[in-house]
Amino acid sequence: MAEEILVYAEHQEGRLARPTWEAVAAAQQLAGASGTACAAVILGDNVSDLAGELAGAGLQEVLTVESPQLAQYTPDGWSLALRQVIERRQPRFVVFSHTYQVRDFAPRLAASLDRGLVGDSLGYRREGERTFFVRQIFQGKFSADVEFRGEPPYFVSFQAGAFREDSVQRGQSQATITPMEINVPPESIRTRPQEKFREAKQAVDLSQAEIIVAVGRGIRKPENMELAQKLAEALGAEIGASRPICDSGWLPMDRQIGSSGQTVAPKLYIALGISGAIQHQVGMKGSRTVVAVNKDREAPIFDIATYGIAGDLFEVVPALIEEIRKAKSG
C-alpha cells in the first residue's frame, strides 16, 4: 500500500479536464516499471460516469468520494474530504496538475497533514533511490532540483503541458471503482461559491485549442493581422498574441498568451514575429510542436522551437498558407 501513487482527477462542467489526463500520465511515468500502483481519486456529488471513464485509463483503482457537500468545489470541502482519503490510503505520492483549483486547495490539504507540496513542477529526475522534482524559480531565470524531506505522502503538482495527455497508458482491463466513505459536515464548509461568469471581453478559452497561431511585435502593423488570421483559418487554428499586441488593441486581451494571460498547451503553436521573452514562454512552452518565424536568429523563441524559420514572416507566411491549403485538400 505504501508505494501507491494517488492522482487527483479534476472535473469541470461534468467533464474530465485535460490537466487530469496530464496528471495521470505523470503518475504513470513516476510509477515507472517498478509496478507501483496508480489510483485516481475523484470528488463530487455524482461522479459515477466520470469514474467509469477514468477506470479505462490504465489505473489500478478509481476512488470515488460522493457527498451533497461536494456538489460544488470549495477549498474547505476538498481539503477535508481528500485528507480523509489520504489518511486511509497512505500513498507515497499525491499527484496533481497545477491548475487554479489545485493552487487553491492543495497547499491547504498538504499542510493539514503536516506535509509539503512541490508546486508547478516541470518534471522529475531520478538518481538511484532519490527523486528530484524540477521547478522554475526567480520567474524562470533559474531551474531548481527540489527534493522532499520528512515522511511521505509527498504532494507534487505539474505545470500544464509538462506531461502529455496522449502519453497516458490505456489499460487492458477496467480499474476497480471503490467508493470512499468520508465525513464532511455542512458547517465545515465556510466559503459559498456563486455561479461562474465571464466578463464581456473575456470570451475565449485558448487552453483547450489544438492549434494556435500567435502574433508578436514582428507583425508591425494592425493591417498585417489579416495575414495571421488567414494562416489560422487555413489550419483551423485559434489566434493568440503576446502582450504588446493586446496592449495595443490589435487583438482583444482575452487572446493574450503568457504569464499575465492564458497558459496554452496545443499540439501545434506557430509563433509569428514573437521574440519569446520568458513572460511569453511561460504561457506556451507546454506546446508539443513549436514553429517560430522570426527575423532575428538569436531570438529566445528559437530556444524552445521545434522548427525555426529565421526569415521574413511576410514572405514565408503567404507561401505557408498556400502549402497548407494544398496539403489539406490533398
Partner: protein, 259 residues
C-alpha cells in the same frame, strides 16, 4: 477592521542574478531588492479597506535586516505598524516553514483579515498564504481580483482559468491571496515618509514566537540550481519562402503529425 498584510522583499526585477558558488541560491551581495509585486497590491487593498471601514493595517515581514526597507515603504504608504520577523533560523525556509513563522506572529494579533500576495517573484511557491490559512484555521480564497467587505462578511471575486470569474462569500476572519492588477497602488507621500519614522515596529525572533528548529524543519529543499537548459533541439528550415513552406508542411504532416 484589523488587517494583517504579509509582505516580502525579493530581488529587483532588473537585478542581474548570479548563482552562489554551491549553486544552491543566488549571490545576494550587490543586488537591489524591492517589495514583491503582488504584495504591493495586497497592501494597497488593505489600506483602501481601512479607509472605507476604519481599523488598523499591520505589516508582517519575514526577512533579514535588509527587509526593513520594505517595512519602511509600507509604513510610509499608510500602514499603522509593523512586525519584522528576523532570525538566523528563518533563513531560506520553505513555504511550510515560512507559513509556520507567519502563523505564530499573526495569531498573536488575532486579525479580522489577513492578506498576502498570491505568490512571490523569487521562490514562486504560490502556497504560503494558503498554508497560513490552514495553520490559522481561517477560510480562504486565492487569486482575488475584488473585495467587498461588510458586517463581518466578505464577498470576493476570484479569477479562474480562461477568463472566468466567480464571486465567493465567506465569514470573517478570513485570509485572501491577492492578484496583481486588483488596484492601482499608491506612492508614499513625503508626509507619509516622515510619519513612518514614528510608527511602531516590533522585531520578533524565533524565541519570541516559541518556534524551535523542529517546527521549522523543511518539507522540501533545493539541492541544486542552474540556468534552464534549452528544451528543444531546434531544426532551422532554410530555403526560398516556397521551399521553406514545403519543407515545414512536410515535417508538420509526417514528422510532428500535427496537421
Amino acid at each position: 477592521m484589523k488587517i494583517v498584510v504579509c509582505l516580502k522583499q525579493v530581488p529587483s526585477h532588473d537585478a542581474n542574478l548570479r548563482l552562489n558558488t554551491a549553486s544552491t541560491w543566488i549571490e545576494e551581495a550587490d543586488i537591489g531588492f524591492e517589495v514583491n509585486e503582488p504584495d504591493v497590491y495586497a497592501l494597497e487593498e488593505a489600506l483602501r479597506l481601512k479607509e472605507k471601514l476604519g481599523g488598523e493595517v499591520i505589516v508582517c515581514t519575514l526577512g533579514p535586516a535588509r527587509a526593513g526597507q520594505a517595512i519602511k515603504e509600507a509604513l510610509a504608504k499608510g500602514a499603522d505598524r509593523a512586525l519584522h520577523l528576523d532570525d538566523d533560523a528563518f533563513e531560506n525556509l520553505d513555504a511550510h516553514g515560512t507559513a509556520r513563522v507567519l502563523a505564530a506572529a499573526v495569531r498573536r494579533e488575532n486579525p479580522d483579515l489577513v492578506l498576502t500576495g498570491l505568490q512571490s517573484d523569487d521562490f514562486g511557491f504560490a502556497q504560503t498564504g494558503v498554508i497560513l490559512a490552514e495553520m490559522l484555521t481561517l477560510p480562504h480564497s486565492t487569486i482575488v481580483m475584488e473585495i467587498q467587505a461588510e458586517d463581518g462578511h466578505l464577498k470576493v471575486k476570484r479569477e479562474l482559468e480562461g477568463g472566468w470569474f466567480q464571486w465567493i462569500e465567506m465569514p470573517l476572519p478570513a485570509l485572501l491571496t491577492i492578484q496583481s492588477g486588483i488596484n492601482k497602488p499608491r506612492y508614499a507621500s513625503l508626509k507619509g515618509i516622515m510619519a513612518a519614522k514614528n510608527k511602531p515596529l516590533q522585531k520578533l525572533a524565533a524565541q519570541d514566537l516559541e518556534l524551535d528548529a523542529e517546527a521549522l524543519k523543511p518539507r522540501q529543499v533545493i539541492s541544486r540550481m542552474y540556468v534552464p537548459q534549452k528544451t528543444a533541439q531546434t531544426e532551422f528550415i532554410e530555403g526560398s519562402p516556397r521551399e521553406i513552406a514545403e519543407r515545414l508542411v512536410d515535417r508538420l504532416k509526417n514528422e510532428a503529425r500535427v496537421i
